[in-house]
């Protein structure tokens, strides 16, 4: 019901939206909840377990009942708080957790079965027959549970993430927060003021009182004007600060585009990381309920939300309203309603000594003991000194007092303490370093008190920032004492709800206590109390008060459950903004990328890099055809391959050689200038870290190469070794991976190709600086294929040109480019390892390179490599495999001794790499085999259950091709 002359919504801007397919009208500034209440809609959802009808309970983000789905074309957002979602033209909203309709929900049958669905009933049944759990019971439970639905379609909308930095962060723009922000603004520090509402002012707007004799909203507008004009203040509306983290870091969610129709380039939400020097928490307090029989009917609301609907939205949630409270604050709601011309039928005040001086009947020392109304409240039963009576009412405002919003103060494991005077938990100072609670969240409940406390606490925070300022004078406002007489439940027959969303009643809590789930965490987990979308904001304190009563302890002894981030739920899409699709990880491209794509090469991921898989040619239809051709091409003519992804580290200094001797197992100080050596590097724990070649370019100048996969790892390792152990050595190094493009040219005609480009005569494992086309380049005679091979490196800007040129030259020699597939076959034929073999568990012994650990010197990892478990016959050792009858074999297969049963106890090893060798016309494999080197020549049984492969293989030396290295050395 809309009230004329009340509210801050724009009456000149009507907005049409739909709820469950029915069109409604509200005004700009309305939430879905306020607009539905204005239209007399009472049932907006169904509860979790019993599917009871649920109406709007609150006017804020803590709403447990009015959760709806917002529908878009092809997409939907579940569990949206109707009390937060602003309406806009065309907004489509649907109720959830009901079938077939909100009014007639089949699952409401659960409500009739409630005696059998008590807390934890499912732990005691559904155990027989065993197979029925997955097949029968669980599917039924899963379908009944849950609230809203995801669409199942990719969320294609835009989301953003951002960092912000400030000196003073103020969380909450109610009276305390506004005063704190003003204080910061005038002190000249960088201020961020964040508030979850679309308009700032907090309860000043909802309560509608006066400040300095004028409407509070006028004072709010003046303060906001000052803050907006201040260059050092950033105002963030629709921004919930959701978590407190280390180092003054806070997470916050800004609802950027949820209040308007979706449009391109407007993100829905932005997830902020705010780093603050000091923080004033002015989050306010939340009103709590009282548990009484059937207190969950639509129309039963929080008392303070009634005046919020009147003052902010110009809506009365009922025609004939009653109030049930244990404190003075709820009187404000009664008065606001009456001032707006709404009929207030009665105030039921639990306090025997409560004042009865109101313009409506007041029952002091009375309690609401029951309610009526199937789909909405129609009457309450009141027990008072004179007996019981029924009052007809369609809206009951309940207030059990106020709970300070201590949540953020607890995000770093702080525990709030029980304040018996306030009958509430209040924060402990210093629980989050640099964060100071002010106003209602610190237990200061009057408006005057909040205004003054905001200024006081801001002065404290500014002092820490080194700004000594005097508190500005707080304006004059309401300063009534908060007179509360704690009451948590009205005992009696019937079910009295604590957690409306999860359907937890006082009976459930008492049953938990009866079954010795007596600690507050046990009770929570046994009953699911506080685990619904409102995270127990409306009910946790009440529930633990009931638990305290049931177990004969005080509330302070009972304690609270832990408050954890986020303060209010945050979408995965917002926190994961930027991660979709290719955004998840950086992409690295070689200089030849475009040239490879031009040749239709499929580019595959190699770590962060992309490398060509193969270069299809002519009528080839499968990768194998191309791969086989490329292998033969390299073996018989010449191939060109971009190897720029290998890590390259330039190492210089008088102690460079000494440094390499420390990080490599073998000796590099003896390497002559102009030569290249293969090196093996260990982790500190003695396992193989990486392998690669290192060239000596000058007396004090080396160029190390690493594998693609371990490039970053090796750089970090070198930095560690140098800074930790060799800080006083003359050695400096830098990654030059990105600076040089490098191409392998391999095959019997590699020398001819090179000669066509530049005149250089290198021995095997030689290197030289050369120049061609006016470009300084480097040539290394090294090979990863077993053929005569060269690697030519040029500055990256010439990479693409050189690649195209080399390929063209190769083609005139009967060669061409080759990709990763061929490269893999070539190296398997030669028994060269990759990270398929050195997978982090491998030792030098395993790969037959124990001899590379120099006995003449120390190296990183040598001490740990000496442990008995890292060598010996029990280890798996690298061998080659050739299947009999040229059968296909697969990597990942396990090996068994022929005749043994195929089971784990008999496992002899596994296959790491497999390729089809067109030269040998058969599959070759590299494998790790128990005591493998001693078994060369024996047969093993290779079993891949997953691919139905079971073949005998001959154990061989891992070098299949050119064992003597004749071709290599040319």
């Amino acid at each position: 019901m809309r009230i004329d002359g009340k509210g801050l919504v724009d009456r000149s801007a009507p907005v049409r939206f739909t709820f469950d397919g029915v069109a409604y009208e509200g005004f700009r500034g309305d939430t879905v909840a306020s607009a539905l209440l204005a239209n007399g809609v009472r049932v907006v959802g169904r509860s979790f377990k019993y599917h009871r009808p649920r109406g709007v309970l609150t006017a804020g983000s803590e709403e447990p009942n009015a959760l709806v789905e917002v529908i878009e074309v092809g997409q939907q957002t579940p569990n949206v708080r109707a009390t937060v979602q602003e309406i806009f033209p065309g907004l489509e909203v649907k109720s959830q957790n009901r079938w077939p309709s909100l009014k007639y929900d089949v699952m409401a049958v659960n409500d009739m079965l409630s005696p059998f669905l008590s807390a934890g009933f499912y732990y005691k049944t559904f155990m027989w027959p065993r197979k029925f759990w997955e097949r029968v019971y669980e599917p039924i439970i899963r379908r009944a549970a849950g609230l809203g639905s995801l669409s199942g379609r990719h969320d294609e909308a835009d989301y953003e993430k951002a960092f912000a930095f400030c000196d003073l962060l103020v969380i909450g723009a109610g009276p305390a927060g506004l005063m704190a922000a003003v204080q910061g603004a005038r002190a000249g520090v960088d201020v961020i003021l964040a508030d979850e509402n679309p308009v700032m002012g907090g309860r000043l707007l909802a309560d509608g009182g006066e400040i300095d004799g004028r409407p509070a909203s006028v004072w709010v507008a003046e303060v906001l004007a000052e803050l907006e004009a201040a260059p050092n203040v950033r105002l963030m509306v629709r921004t919930s600060v959701t978590g407190a983290y280390d180092g003054g870091t806070f997470s916050a969610l800004e609802r950027v585009g949820l209040h308007v129709a979706a449009r391109a380039n407007l993100p829905r939400e932005c997830f902020w990381r705010i780093v603050a020097g000091q923080t004033v928490l002015a989050a306010g307090a939340l009103e709590r309920s009282i548990a009484f029989a059937d207190n969950d009917r639509p129309g039963v609301m929080m008392a303070s939300s009634l005046r919020a609907y009147v003052n902010r939205y110009g809506v009365s949630p009922g025609k004939r309203v009653t109030i049930f409270a244990n404190n003075d604050d709820a009187r404000l709601s009664a008065r606001a309603l009456m001032a707006a011309g709404v009929d207030v039928a009665a105030i039921v005040d639990t306090r025997a000594d409560a004042s009865t001086l109101e313009d409506c009947p007041v029952y002091a020392g009375a309690e609401v003991v029951g309610t009526k109304g199937r789909h909405g409240l129609s009457a309450i039963t009141v027990r008072h000194r004179g007996g019981e009576m029924q009052i007809e009412t369609d809206c009951l405002g309940v207030s059990g007092g106020w709970n300070p919003l201590v949540h953020l103060t607890c995000h770093m494991n702080g525990r709030p303490v029980w304040d018996a005077d306030l009958a509430a938990f209040v924060p402990v100072a210093g629980a989050v370093p640099g964060l100071h609670a002010a106003g209602a969240c610190a237990g200061v409940f009057s408006t005057q008190g909040c205004l003054a406390d905001g200024a006081r606490v801001a002065v404290l925070a500014l002092g820490v920032l080194g700004r000594a300022v005097r508190a500005v004078d707080a304006p004059v406002a309401e300063d009534a004492p908060y007179a509360v007489l704690p009451l948590w439940e009205v005992k009696g027959k019937g079910r009295a709800w604590l957690d409306f969303a999860n359907d937890v009643t006082t009976k459930d809590v008492r049953l938990a206590a009866q079954e010795n789930f007596a600690s507050v965490e046990h009770m929570k987990r046994y009953t699911t109390q506080g685990m619904a979308p409102d995270q127990g904001k409306n009910s946790n304190v009440g529930a633990l008060a009931v638990l305290a009563d049931a177990t004969g302890r005080s509330i302070a002894q009972t304690g609270t459950t832990t408050y954890r981030a986020p303060f209010s739920p945050v979408s995965i899409a917002a926190m994961g903004a930027g991660g979709r699709g290719a955004g998840f990880a950086p992409q690295r491209f070689m200089t030849s990328h475009g040239a490879s794509v031009d040749r239709r090469a499929p580019m595959v991921e190699a770590g962060l890099w992309y490398r060509p898989s193969y270069f299809p040619k002519g009528a080839e239809t499968t990768w194998r055809e191309a791969c086989d051709r490329e292998v033969v091409m390299v073996r018989e003519a010449v191939g060109v391959c971009d190897v720029s992804t290998l890590g390259k580290i330039d190492i210089q200094g008088a102690d460079a050689a000494r440094f390499l001797d420390l990080v490599y197992t073998n000796v590099f100080s003896t390497l002559p200038v102009g030569r290249v050596r293969y090196g093996l590097m260990l982790r500190a724990d003695g396992h193989v870290l990486d392998d690669g070649t290192t060239a000596r370019l000058g007396e004090n100048h080396y160029l190390m190469t690493t594998t693609t996969a371990a490039a970053g790892l090796v750089m970090r390792h070198l930095d560690f070794v140098q800074q930790a152990y060799c800080g006083d050595w003359d050695v400096r190094f830098v990654s030059v991976t990105e600076n040089w493009a490098q191409f392998a040219v391999a095959g019997p005609r590699a020398r001819a190709l090179l000669a066509s480009l530049v005149s250089v005569d290198l021995p095997f494992m030689g290197c030289s600086r050369v120049e061609f086309g006016g470009v300084g380049a480097r040539v290394f005679r090294i090979s990863f294929s077993g053929e005569e091979g060269y690697e030519i490196a040029v500055p990256s800007r010439y990479g693409e040109a050189l690649f195209r040129d080399l390929v063209a030259r190769a083609e005139t020699l009967g060669g061409g480019p080759y990709g990763m597939e061929a490269l893999n076959v070539l190296r398997i034929e030669k028994g060269f390892i990759t990270h398929a073999e050195i997978d982090g568990r491998t030792t030098a012994f395993d790969i037959g390179l124990a001899g590379m650990i120099s006995a003449r010197k120390d190296c990183i990892g040598k001490a740990a490599a000496g442990r008995s478990g890292l060598t010996g016959a029990a280890r798996l050792q690298m061998v080659g495999l050739r299947p009999v009858m040229q059968a296909a074999i697969t990597a990942g297969a396990h090996l068994f001794t022929p005749g043994d049963e195929v089971r784990r106890e008999n496992d002899q090893g596994y296959v790491t790499s497999v390729g089809y060798s067109p030269m040998m016309e058969g599959y070759l494999g590299l494998a790790f085999l128990r005591d493998g080197r001693a078994r060369i020549g024996e047969m093993v049984r290779l079993v891949d259950h997953l691919r139905d492969i079971d073949v005998l293989c001959e154990v061989c030396d891992p070098v299949f091709h050119d064992k003597e290295g004749v071709k290599l050395r040319g």
Binding site: M412, D719, R867
Partner: protein
């Protein structure tokens, strides 16, 4: 979490790589398996003040010794590994023949 790099100033934790306890800084001698165990495995693992080793990987590439609290996550002190007194003396590695 934020760490103040001695060279770069206060930076977000995501710029840093964590290695582990400062035990890693003590290199064992070949043959000394107790020292290997101490360097690589055994930890005081204190709930409280610890000194551990971090790398400013997305920054200046400095290795750092960070003194901090494992319960509160408060960072007390950040030093360059290279400047930590006695570290060079702790390593028994002799390096190459050069």
């Amino acid at each position: 979490m934020r760490i103040t790099c001695p060279l770069c100033g206060p930076r977000d934790r995501r710029e840093f790589y964590y290695y582990g306890s400062e035990d890693y800084l003590t290199q064992p001698e070949v043959g000394d398996l107790d020292a290997v165990d101490a360097q690589l495995h055994l930890r005081d693992n204190v709930a409280g003040r610890v000194r551990d080793v971090w790398y400013h990987e997305a920054g200046c590439a400095s290795w750092l010794v960070v003194t901090r609290d494992t319960v509160s996550h408060a960072v007390e002190k950040v030093e360059l590994v290279a400047n930590v007194k006695g570290i060079l003396a702790k390593t028994k590695l002799k390096g190459g023949a050069a």
